[in-house]
Symmetry: C2
Subunit: 349 residues, 2 copies
Amino acid sequence: MHVDELETPVVTVDLDILETNIAGLQAHLDAHGIANRPHIKTHKIPEIAQMQVKQGAIGITCQKLGEAEVMAKAGIQDIFLPYNIIGEKKLARLVALTRTCRMSVTSDSEIVVRGLSAAMAQAGLTLSVLVECDTGMQRCGVQSPAEAAKLAKVIAESPGLHFGGLMTYPSSERANLFFQETRKLLEADGISVERTSGGSTNTIQLAQTFDEITEHRAGEYIYGDRYQIDCDAMKVEDCSLKVIVTVVSRPTENRGIIDGGSKTLSSDVFKTPGHGLILEYPEAVIYSQSEEHGHVDFSACERKPEIGERLSIIPNHCCPVTNLFDQVVGIRKGEVELVWQVACRGLVQ
Amino acid sequence: MHVDELETPVVTVDLDILETNIAGLQAHLDAHGIANRPHIKTHKIPEIAQMQVKQGAIGITCQKLGEAEVMAKAGIQDIFLPYNIIGEKKLARLVALTRTCRMSVTSDSEIVVRGLSAAMAQAGLTLSVLVECDTGMQRCGVQSPAEAAKLAKVIAESPGLHFGGLMTYPSSERANLFFQETRKLLEADGISVERTSGGSTNTIQLAQTFDEITEHRAGEYIYGDRYQIDCDAMKVEDCSLKVIVTVVSRPTENRGIIDGGSKTLSSDVFKTPGHGLILEYPEAVIYSQSEEHGHVDFSACERKPEIGERLSIIPNHCCPVTNLFDQVVGIRKGEVELVWQVACRGLVQ
């Protein structure tokens, strides 16, 4: 079936571009001796995770237990879950996962470390725990190298746990210095830092400049999106993911309405106004959205679309888009080659 | 099971409040002789649609074909799909639906009307088509009463179609005048307007003041959200939907990180800053989100939460939130009573 025969709205992935992106990241990190641990939150598809591992990734990164469970069941052997796992039920699930594959997690507090330690020691397991470091994003993470070293020692001394290293997001010069200082503090106490995990798609080309960071987590590089284009991290032709929509209304000379809104493109917006880049009308602006409609201003376009015309959109942010759909369609040279289930989406936890 | 035993993040619905909201809207519209046609995009759950119809709704409103198909299969007899249905495959699905239940749709252009007419006439069916009118929202819709009357006549004269009336969103004084003027134009030509459909949750209390609008479509009234609270349309105690999350990190004195981010609360924002109202800490601000984390500023709160504490959040916009989960959990007096599948979510089209 040709891509033009698919009903809209539909999320498509160009398989040639996808494969090039997977191989490209691996080659770059291999060339610099950096471990590749791609983040699967972007695709949530076991088949793509398997492609990434087959290409040379040492394992994957997941952002929630449910994702890790699906990926482990699909045969992924090494899973990093950079999350503070809390509560009896979640710890029991983490124990079950740790029995089936090589798991590692993060923590940024003693209270979380104590919970992990009790669960793992009771199960007779050893879990690798990295210290999450806040190096400027103001999310989770200890606030200073001194705090990081202190928590690392607590982990190292906790039954059932192994101090697995340091983690932050994204890689940066500041992160590099934070890790360096923490490593020095720990080495003075005879504790080695075996793994330091950084990441992001828009720092891939700089990864080799951060000599304290041994592992790279990138997610969006497989699909690309308007954010990565705006960051100059990817080009339009590097973007494998496109949302195909149809113009369903042309109420005025300049206004067009498409059959994709916030439940298709998500509401994520970054610096550039609008809700995505329309490839056939790059000057057009998706100025607002209702849930199943996008509202487009075509006033800057010389030619305006007809009702029924199909448009290809690079969304602002690819991760929430695939999370909105149960399936994405793999395309090669314009023909449908496969349909992937977005197996990790919609999970309650 | 008590609600406190559920793993987080989880979307819960208080069933007592839900039932009160369903009964309340019905009683208000009944008292004023206005037809109730609730919009199911908010919940996407056949069981709730059945509750709405049992309470007296004349039918439901859906926003996409996939939703209508799920609802028709669940036994809903009267479905309004205010959408321009375009393309052979979608028209074939609409024909199939029209054979199984009382369908009506909208159109705002002759090209869409021609497609509907050809499909219905060929199938030997008659479909009710309303004219969608843009009364200020700048989405779909004809731009003037003259255009509306013109398109109504085209529908009335088209094989396989029946002119079903006028539709707009939301109800307003301007909509009322638009409908009045269109009705006069059509009556002069001997065409009667049998049904006029308006809507929105925050105009429920005003519905009886728009005497040209015979049918009301409301969606969010069943769940409520921060937007409706900000509009003074609903109170906190009217909100049946709450997202329960856990504090997983307290990196600084004032910062707390919760286990719900943009893939739980959605990225929809309205006038009030932040990504939801935390009931236990109403002064707190969810100032930003990553996909599985919400970043909260507790500086305005006298007491700050501990790691592991559970919080109840009224999200900014309830519709995209339930769309992100495969299940919502029905609670009565703190105990889990049922789990509903969000049956219409994730559908490709």
